[in-house]
Amino acid sequence: MPGDRSQAADLTRTLGRRLADAVEADAAVSRRAVLGGLGLAGAGALGLAGQGRASNDHGSGADEHGNFGAVGAYESTDFDPHAFLREFNTGFETTESVPNQRVYERDDGDGGTERVREFDFVASLRPIEIAPGVSFPAWTYNGQVPGPTLRATEGDVIRVNFANGQRHAHTIHPHLKNLNPAMDGIPQNGPGLVDQGDAFTYEWKAQPAGLHFYHCHSLPLKEHIHRGLYGAMIVDPDPDRVGRKPREYVNYQGPIDAAYRADLVERAELRNHEYRADELDEQVMVMNGFDTNFDGDNEVYAVNTRAFAYGVAETDGYGSWSAGETIRPIRIDRAERQRLYLLNVIEFDPINSLHTHSQFFDYYDHGTTLYPTHKTVDTVMQCQAQRGILELDYGDHDPGLYMFHAHQSEFAELGWMSFFEVT
């Protein structure tokens, strides 16, 4: 060991001379700062300094010294996770992902009227860049993975005109309280599989309030899900109904007084996009993954398809970082609260999770209650198809980067690692 140390000292001196010569001409670099870093550099080169890296070599920085993460930036514009994050299809206005959508009232066949939210969906094959330079032949709803996020108010009818333009037969199966078996979107019921060139219109009652899931239910199920046929459906609570039937929205058996009822109604209004949901910064995060080499294990994990898309583009590993065009943190305003609609669709792994650094949040499992099912937690676990709503408040935090990621380290290092940039 003493021998190693003296070798390290020698190496440090050699490196010192070389680097000091190299930076002589560069007034921007303090000679003293360079030499200061060298003790670690010399020791690191001999393996004495743990993870210490000799990264002071002029002009090279992080590039030469082992930064973790994907290399390069996304080259194609086939999917933008940053746009997907805050896009909700309500039927009121068209979007790029659902060009044909509308809202209208119709006779409910029972003497009253009902409101319909209608969306056109097309299944197609489309290559999507899921890690920089790595393309995946995805099966998509409307050309994107995850499929478009649909949003309605409790009690509305969600109507999806589904046309299959892909060579395999597909369906759309809703995770809703659906009362008509013909609309369940499985091969054994209703229209069954929808073949290429065929179409079918699904109609589902938007209930119960919460965050829900839709996906293709063709067999083999594993393949039809992991190839990309899934998406999120948000059913906002109807404040009037909450006022009338408060017990359906809480896991609580005690007496309900006027103040409790009023609090629930206010919570419903803050959830509902037709009332006050815009007071929060709402984001959809679908935890997914891709098996690119058919070994029954995912090579890429992500929220919203693209590995590391909410990461930092460059870092020297010593606290400085920069955002890129395609890889950049999610910017959030600390004056605003955040609401995450989190859905796990991961295939091949039993569970997925989300962990926030330096932050605790309230979690509403399935989003079906108006009081949290987990109060003040920093990690939630979801099995496939499980989902929930997270409410976060960065009001106390200093501005800067706050990481969040799957706390399966493997998933994190394979792409499911993200940041909020609090401003």
């Binding site: 993460g69 290399v71 390069g72 899921i130 790595v134 690119t292 493997e410």
Partner: protein, 397 residues
């Protein structure tokens, strides 16, 4: 006279034109195939990508260098690299960090800055643009000292100890052999053949095993077979040319044996040097003693053909010993410089071929003078095999 010469040249020119005509026609046709898009409309899917990580070098504990070859008929793009199931930065060849495309048959070094721990296995994977992955296990990585004068000196010393000295000691049996009647001398020659056969089988098995690590495009197995047969035929052709119809002189045969053993020892040296450079060799007493005992039998094999007739001058013995033993030093140096499985398999295969050719010569020598399958020769051959097997147990590299 002049006319005849001109006619001769004209004949030779015509002969030459006729000889190259098929090749020229082929080139013209190839040009046509390339120029006309004959197969533009023909589509029968895409060939599968095929990438090999033939070996890994570890220049320091902050770097993994993967030696990669594209075996497939199409270019491949290495888009990402995984180390232990985590995306990691990397650079290909002399380029900057990031993706790189390899043309068919192109090889490159993928450098990954990764702080690894000696003794802890690593799995690395290349992720191509289409999502296909090609992996490699780095088993118990050790720091590789690389090539320094210290290493070269150590390898030279080891080479002299395990190559030159045992062969020289073994040659001291020469006076004993001279006193043997011819019948028993043939037994000793057969013993030499047994020693050589053992070495050939040993090296042959090694060569085919090594061939498995050769990038698929280079057809490792066929390369080994071609190298074995090629070296047999080449050495045989050279020997036939030298003796010009006469039987090979005992001294000539001794040199052939020394050459065969030398080529084998070159491959042995490659293995020692490679293991040393990879940080895999414990150059302890066990290995050195093992090789010394093992190689002792090579000495009598070299001088056995000289036991009859006039003793050649002493410097020939020195030259024979060096030819047989010194290549261990050379192989050690080469092996420490380049750990290429292709090179390793090639040297092993050439050694096998040389030994096979020598056995051929030994057999014809015995047959010329006596009976090939006598009790003495058969048991000599067997003893050769057994001694080599027993001493081989001492060598664990």
């Amino acid at each position: 006279m002049g006319e005849t010469a001109t006619a001769g040249r004209r004949v030779r020119l015509g002969w030459f034109l006729r000889a190259v005509a098929p090749v020229v026609l082929l080139l013209v046709l190839l040009g046509v195939v390339v120029a006309l898009p004959l197969f533009a409309g023909v589509q029968s899917g895409e060939p599968l990508p095929d990438v090999t990580i033939s070996h890994v070098s570890l220049p320091n504990d902050e770097t993994l260098a993967l030696h990669v070859t594209n075996n497939g008929p199409e270019p491949v793009t290495i888009s990402q690299v995984l180390v232990e199931e985590a995306y990691w930065t990397f650079a290909v060849g002399d380029g900057g960090p990031g993706a790189a495309t390899l043309a068919p048959l192109e090889s490159a070094t993928v450098r990954i800055p990764y702080h690894w721990t000696p003794g802890w296995d690593l799995h690395v994977s290349l992720v191509l643009a289409n999502g296909a992955t090609f992996g490699h296990d780095i088993v118990a990585p050790q720091p590789q000292p690389g090539v320094t004068t210290d290493v070269l000196q150590t390898l030279a010393l080891v080479g002299i100890l395990v190559g030159v000295i045992p062969v020289a000691l073994g040659m001291l049996w020469f006076p004993v052999m001279r006193d043997l009647p011819q019948y028993y001398l043939h037994g000793v020659l057969a013993l030499a053949a047994g020693v050589l056969t053992f070495l050939a089988v040993d090296a042959g098995v090694e060569a085919f095993a090594e061939a498995g690590a050769i990038p698929g495009a280079f057809e490792g197995t066929l390369l080994v077979v071609t190298a074995i047969l090629g070296s047999v035929l080449l050495i045989q052709a050279v020997a036939a040319h030298l003796r010009d119809g006469e039987a090979l002189s005992p001294l000539g045969l001794a040199y052939m044996v020394a050459l065969g053993i030398g080529l084998h020892n070159l491959a042995e040296g490659l293995a020692i040097g490679g293991a040393f450079a990879l940080g895999r060799a414990s150059l302890g007493a066990f290995l050195v003693i093992g090789f010394m005992v093992h190689n002792l039998t090579e000495g009598p094999a070299v001088v056995a053909p000289l036991a009859e007739g006039r003793r050649p001058s002493l410097w020939h013995f020195g030259a024979l010993g060096l030819l047989a033993g010194a290549p261990v030093v050379l192989g050690g140096w080469l092996g420490s410089l380049a750990q290429s499985p292709t090179l390793g398999a090639l040297f092993l295969a050439v050694g096998v071929g040389a030994i096979l050719q020598v056995n051929w010569e030994l057999a014809s020598l015995i047959r010329r003078e006596g009976r090939l399958a006598s009790p003495a020769t058969l048991s000599g051959f067997l003893v050769g095999l057994l001694v080599m097997y027993a001493t081989d147990l001492l060598v664990a590299l």
